[in-house]
């Protein structure tokens, strides 16, 4: 078992906040020394979950919050949760929504969606510990 690295970022659910959350995740993944293509892939998958979350996270018409939680632990892999506080409603379809989940599933080893309290999307990525380097594999 290696060291555990964690990142937690919470923002108001707004389309403009997806970008700073993604940037925070990029810094976290770069600190793990993942391969550049792996970082791009993880950001692509998580970006889709964030894009959906900012549109779900509404409670009684007011913007709620979106939380990004990432956890990397040695050989146990990389697990990223995107959680919103809203009740799941099919809002007027954002352009691109139809492709989002397909893209996330194509990249992550597993995508699990829990809609019991708000929506939590858990994306799991396999990683291989190579000395100081951790690389995700499909």
């Amino acid at each position: 078992m290696g060291d555990v690295a964690e990142l937690r970022v919470t923002r108001t659910a707004a389309r403009a906040n997806v970008r700073p959350m993604r940037h925070a995740l990029r810094s976290f993944l770069e600190a793990l020394e993942l391969a550049p293509d792996t970082i791009d892939d993880v950001l692509t998958a998580v970006g889709e979950a964030l894009a959906n979350a900012v549109e779900h996270a509404y409670v009684d018409g007011a913007a709620g919050s979106v939380e990004l939680y990432a956890r990397a632990e040695g050989d146990a892999g990389l697990e990223i949760d995107v959680r919103d506080s809203g009740t799941y409603i099919e809002r007027s379809a954002r352009v691109g929504r139809g492709f989002g989940l397909r893209i996330a599933r194509a990249i992550a080893r597993n995508v699990e969606i829990d809609r019991s309290r708000g929506t939590r999307v858990r994306l799991s990525f396999d990683v291989i510990q190579r000395r100081r380097h951790i690389r995700a594999v499909k």
Partner: protein
């Protein structure tokens, strides 16, 4: 959009995510004339499915209008995004500007 003698160029740059969805949708308008369109995404550093879907709709409009479109993509993230979306073969994608222009200006 800029237009030289025979090809209209639509260029987008930077990080194209859901936060710029409206801007992307506005940018992807067909030219009024039936001019081939080079969609230049070579300076796009990141894209999400917002762009994929906008591309998809743009391509449909172009086909209906009998307008030829070429997409210029340099960054691997965007190439792979198309593949993950199952659209790796859906658009004429080029990595070299000269190849895209040759495709747009060929007869037929």
């Amino acid at each position: 959009m800029s237009t030289d003698s025979s090809v209209a160029v639509i260029a987008l740059s930077g990080e194209l995510d859901v936060g710029r969805a409206d801007e992307v949708a506005r940018a992807l308008e067909l030219p009024s004339r039936t001019t081939p369109v080079l969609l230049d995404l070579s300076d796009v550093s990141y894209a999400d499915s917002t762009v994929i879907s906008a591309l998809f709709h743009f391509s449909e409009k172009a086909t209906a209008a009998n307008t030829r479109v070429a997409v210029l993509i340099v960054k691997p993230q965007l190439i792979r995004l198309l593949e993950y979306a199952g659209l790796g073969e859906a658009f004429p994608v080029f990595r070299e500007r000269s190849a895209a222009l040759t495709y747009l200006l060929q007869n037929g």
